[in-house]
């Protein structure tokens, strides 16, 4: 059975690997300069620290160098909680944030390719999933393979299992390459919850790919027609993805309230976009500070895990349904 799966799907596997090589070449070609500059700008060192701050100094309103300590007039004791004057560390953070913004602006266009990557998991469903059973039925070869000495149950479980495994391995390679490529962009954007960034990296990609595959297999097993199965995969995948993204994702965890420190106290300060919260709403509070309704940045992996779980949970019954249909199918 394993041999048959390999023989029937090796071409698809080679195509997928070739696509990975092309994609990898693109990632390396565009990613190398991006990573070089990322290092040169010193962002890997300063970003992890800056990310934690809710506000940063508005560097445009700061003097070039912090006042040296001696410039504090003699006889005036500096208050212990003096925030009115920026210290060197705060200024360095502000510069880091500014560099990050400039970096992200320069690479935004490259990263917009990420939009195209949104549909990659769907291709697994269209070109691996949909033909799996549908092509057998269209060519009549199910009558050949289902009348050998192997039960349809074993045929279906072996085939679906091995193909799913292959898709997951390919997804892992893809996700690894992509994560390397996109890390500087995500880190400097501070928008990990963004619709594109959230959806193309992390573990959700595995959930999407498995779901698309299961949808394609099941649609093919039920309809027995390749084109119907492919169309169903497109409509179903896009539909469910949009539904989950727009209607469900915001409710995975309760939102939290976050009030920013007074932005106008002391030197000019601004909200730190690098913090990476998912800002659902913002209102001005009575005291003139900003009050934010957010999903905190540290919830990112919780959200990823929940979204992945949803798509895996959708994929499992689809696969089970496909096995059921293959067994019950009247030919």
């Amino acid at each position: 059975m394993t041999w048959l799966v390999w023989r029937q799907h090796r071409k698809q596997l080679f195509f997928a690997l070739a696509a990975l090589v092309v994609l990898g070449a693109f990632f390396v070609g565009t990613g190398r300069p991006m990573h070089d500059r990322y290092e040169r700008d010193g962002l890997p060192a300063c970003l992890p620290r800056v990310e934690r701050a809710l506000v940063v100094l508005d560097v445009a309103s700061q003097p070039d160098e912090p006042d040296p300590a001696p410039s504090v007039p003699k006889g005036v004791t500096k208050p212990a909680d003096d925030t009115s004057r920026p210290d060197a560390a705060a200024l360095a953070d502000a510069r880091c944030a500014q560099t990050a913004r400039a970096f992200f602006n320069d690479y935004q266009n490259v990263v917009s390719v990420g939009l195209l990557l949104l549909i990659l998991p769907m291709l697994a469903g269209m070109f691996w999933g949909a033909p799996l059973v549908a092509r057998e039925i269209e060519h009549g070869t199910h009558r050949l393979v289902w009348t050998q000495g192997v039960s349809r149950l074993r045929w279906a479980t072996t085939k679906f299992g091995l193909v799913s495994l292959a898709v997951l391995v390919i997804t892992a390679i893809y996700a690894g390459m992509l994560t390397w490529w996109i890390t500087p962009a995500i880190a400097t954007s501070g928008q990990r919850f963004d619709y594109v960034f959230f959806d193309i990296h992390g573990i959700v990609v595995f959930g999407y790919a498995l779901f698309a595959l299961a949808l394609g297999i099941c649609a093919g097993a039920v309809s027995g027609r390749l084109l119907t199965a492919m169309a169903t995969t497109i409509v179903g995948f896009v539909g469910v993805r949009l539904l989950v993204m727009l209607a469900a994702r915001g409710r995975y965890r309760p939102t939290e309230q976050r009030s920013l420190p007074d932005l106008f106290a002391g030197y000019g300060q601004m909200r730190n976009d690098l913090h990476g919260d998912w800002i659902v709403a913002s209102h001005a509070s009575a005291k003139g500070t900003e009050l934010l309704t957010v999903h905190p940045a540290d919830q990112f992996w919780t959200f990823q895990a929940i979204e992945t779980a949803i798509f895996v949970a959708l994929a499992v019954p689809l696969l089970a349904g496909a096995v059921y249909w293959v067994r019950r199918r009247v030919t």
Binding site: Q8, T147, V330
Partner: protein, 295 residues
């Protein structure tokens, strides 16, 4: 009942159409059966039932003493209509597939057979001729060393020469290792040379099943004058079909002994005549009344 294939009240419905309607029959072992019927009579459905590809809606079908489907599939060789094969596989790869998917699969036998037929093992099956493809499909089925071989319209897509070669290859295999063969066709003439039993399916029902030599012996064509009512003729068990020929009437009858009646001319029938009569099997009475009124 025992036999290579036994059905008891076998019924298959696809939605609202009934493909097989309460069929009961027993096909003895080590026979070669021509399964004849027009399109849509249920021939494919019956063969699919025996392989488990289609499930009975009602009734039962047993194959070689066991239930049709997974338990008996290893002993059943099946070639579906149009001999579906993976066209991008080479013949050698198809044999590998057979060997991997069957506990019992005679690879050496297959290689030898295909070599004997001069079918290249390393060429993609899609580039072989229709006759060669049919031979490869037959070979795959025979390599299981089946007790029951089911062939669905094996000759339909073949030219006359390929038909002859296919049938002689089949007969060689049966001679070497006895098995029951059931093959379907529109026409019995295709299979007359090789089969020893005939089964006629009409509209989902078995209208005839028997040994070919007995069928030819026990049926007669009677030609006589038009009748006012259903004729009663000594030695005639049943009138299978009636037709009008000029001022005479033709009856194809099943006899139970010698037919002795001065009004009727007797003629021997061929197997094809018998099968056609059972395929048509039109009601006799209207024809007789019409003839009677005209006379």
């Amino acid at each position: 009942m025992s036999g290579a294939m036994v059905a008891d009240g076998l019924t298959v419905r696809y939605g609202r159409t009934t493909a097989l309607d309460a069929c009961s029959f027993a096909i003895p072992e080590r026979t070669i059966v021509a399964l004849v019927g027009p399109n849509g009579a249920g021939k494919s459905t019956l063969l699919h039932c025996a392989t488990g590809l289609v499930r009975a809606s009602d009734g039962t079908i047993t194959v070689l003493g066991g239930p049709a489907g997974d338990p008996t599939l290893p002993q059943v060789g099946f070639v579906a209509q149009d001999a579906p094969l993976y066209l991008d596989f080479t013949a050698a790869e198809l044999l590998t597939m057979g060997a991997r998917l069957n506990r019992r699969f005679d690879l050496a036998f297959c290689r030898e057979r295909l070599a004997g037929l001069a079918i290249p093992l390393d060429r993609r099956v899609g580039r072989l001729s229709g006759g060669q493809r049919a031979q490869v499909a037959l070979c795959l089925a025979l390599a299981k060393r089946p007790g029951l071989l089911l062939l669905d319209e094996p000759l339909a897509a073949l030219d006359p020469l390929a038909r002859r070669e296919f049938l002689s290859a089949l007969m060689d295999a049966v001679a070497a290792e006895p098995m029951t063969v059931i093959m379907s066709s529109h026409l019995v003439t295709d299979l007359e040379r090789v089969c020893d039993h005939v089964m006629v399916l009409r509209a989902g029902r078995v209208s005839l099943l028997g040994r070919t030599d007995e069928l030819v012996e026990t049926h007669r064509m009677l030609i006589g004058p038009p009748q006012r009512r259903r004729p009663r003729i000594a030695g005639v068990e049943r009138i299978v079909s009636a037709s009008r020929a000029q001022r005479q009437i033709q009856l194809l009858v099943r006899t139970s002994g010698d037919v002795l009646h001065p009004e009727w001319d007797q003629h021997d029938v061929s197997l094809e005549d018998v099968v056609l009569a059972y395929l048509a099997e039109c009601p006799v009475e209207p024809l007789l009344e019409l003839e009677g009124a005209g006379a």
